[in-house]
């Protein structure tokens, strides 16, 4: 199994990850937002020297280094002569450093990287590859690896069709806590891309999508079950699709990441599923979902038509196993979802 672990971007954290586990195959982190930016929240923006230092350190341990530049919206900057030159220069620097792979969401960058650079070209989840047709398109454009849109993580017919259609590598994001069929994905990632990309910087009121996303799950916790995460125990169900898995969570502490690496490397976790999901910490401290009690649910999801009002399986499962933390004095106790 090839496990890719997230990394916040500074040497101390990298050191902890590299010494904390022998099960990490590759590490991925954001680059400097001044060139391309990324579609997710970033806590650091390592400069080229830092990327060089960390790449060398990872290579000492035989760990691959992947730089994620998956802005979902460049606002057209890459199509201007200055923009193109800037990005081209940056890719050249990453190549000279010896970075193994670059993850991008913009089709233009996929073609650019595959044509002129000798680095693994990875199609980001933010390219939303959810069909064999899109996978074929990106492969022809030059992709070496496609990270499949997690929205189809439980749609085996689609996954198998993609596997049959392309010969490039496939990667699955295992612990995404995003809403199933999340209506905010495009808008939210475009917003992040501008907030975490080349200027001009925005002065925003609040992250509307974030509030909304939390509210929807708090008022309707079955959404937590429907999210397209893959339990560590269920990795074996995906072996015929790929053996490469990616753990999401670039803003978490090394301990949290190592806990995930261990769970997925062992293909087993005895605890709260919320510990593993890369979803906002805010709701991690609200719900308890026993991972072991989810045993077998994948058999339903494998043959489910995803028409929730007809099926009702996730709703029933949510009512059965989700517990809510409730304050009592200064402590916390667990109560069932419905009391």
């Amino acid at each position: 199994m090839k496990l890719y672990a997230p990394h916040v971007g500074h040497l101390e954290a990298l050191e902890e990850l590299l010494t904390g586990s022998k099960d990490i195959y590759g590490i991925y982190m954001a680059g400097t937002p001044d060139y391309v930016g990324t579609g997710r929240t970033n806590l650091s923006s390592p400069g080229l020297e830092e990327i060089a230092e960390q790449t060398a350190r990872a290579h000492e341990e035989d760990v691959k280094m992947e730089v994620v530049l998956n802005s979902s919206c460049m606002g057209g900057q890459h199509l201007t002569p200055e923009g193109y030159n800037r990005v081209n220069w940056y890719f050249t620097q990453l190549h000279n450093i010896g970075v193994d792979a670059v993850t991008v969401a913009e089709p233009y960058f996929i073609e650019m990287l595959s044509k002129d650079f000798d680095m693994e070209v990875v199609v980001s989840v933010l390219s939303f590859v959810d069909s064999p047709q899109k996978a074929e398109f990106y492969e022809q454009l030059g992709a070496d690896t496609i990270v499949i849109d997690p929205v189809i993580n439980r749609d085996f017919e689609k996954l198998e069709a993609i596997r049959d259609s392309v010969s490039c590598d496939l990667k699955l994001l295992v612990n995404e806590g995003c809403l199933y069929q999340c209506p905010f994905r495009y808008a939210h990632f475009n917003f992040f891309s501008h907030a975490n990309g080349p200027g001009p910087k925005l002065n925003v009121l609040d992250d509307y999508y974030y509030y909304k996303c939390l509210s929807l799950r708090i008022s309707d916790p079955q959404q937590l079950i429907k999210s397209p995460w893959i339990r560590p125990e269920d990795l074996k169900e995906y072996r015929h699709i790929t053996d490469t898995f990616k753990i999401g969570g670039r803003t978490h502490f090394p301990n949290w990441i190592l806990n995930n690496v261990q769970a997925y490397a062992n293909e087993s976790y005895d605890g709260n599923l919320m510990d593993l999901l890369d979803c906002p910490r805010d709701i991690r401290d609200l719900f308890y979902i026993s991972n072991k009690e989810l045993e077998g649910a994948i058999n339903q999801w494998k043959q489910c038509g995803k028409v929730c009002n007809k099926c009702g399986y996730c709703k029933k499962l949510a009512e059965k196993i989700i517990k809510v933390y409730t304050a009592e004095g200064c402590g916390n106790i667990l109560k069932p979802l419905k009391s």
């Binding site: 009121l205 509307y208 509030y211 939390l214 509210s215 708090i218 805010d282 609200l286 809510v324 304050a327």
Partner: protein, 128 residues
């Protein structure tokens, strides 16, 4: 009890009251006591899962709960308000604030419940 214990206890109690009132697991992710350079001081309670509708329908109850929480923390509940995510149903926080003279004047001049798109006033006691 230390101030942090008092905060913890009141955070939990207010959360439970809101959950019982609204029959859903509303979450108070952080309760802070603050003091600002202008002289304002008070409490901020960051909320998740609380909606503007809830405020409108249960205003009387929520007002009363917030007042009680404020009193428990020795903050005079003269100015209670919710901070909204403008243009949406989301309530970002509940607040109890003892206004400094200048900020008091800013609010005293206004009349409606929403002097700014992000502020919904639950209670504003005018000074003599």
């Amino acid at each position: 009890m230390t101030i942090t214990d008092t905060l913890a206890k009141n955070r939990g109690e207010l959360e439970n009251k809101l959950r019982n009132l609204l029959a859903k697991p509303v979450f108070l992710i952080e309760m802070d006591a603050f003091a600002l350079p202008c002289g304002c001081k008070g409490l901020t309670i960051n909320t998740r899962g609380l909606q503007f509708d809830d405020l409108e329908i249960f205003e009387e109850h929520i007002n009363e709960y917030l007042k009680k929480t404020s009193e428990n923390l020795e903050v005079e509940p003269s100015f209670l308000f919710a901070r909204l995510v403008p243009g949406t149903a989301e309530v970002a926080s509940l607040n109890s604030r003892v206004l400094c003279n200048r900020c008091y004047m800013d609010f005293a001049r206004g009349t409606g419940k929403q002097p700014r798109p992000d502020i919904y006033i639950l209670n504003f006691s005018r000074r003599e």
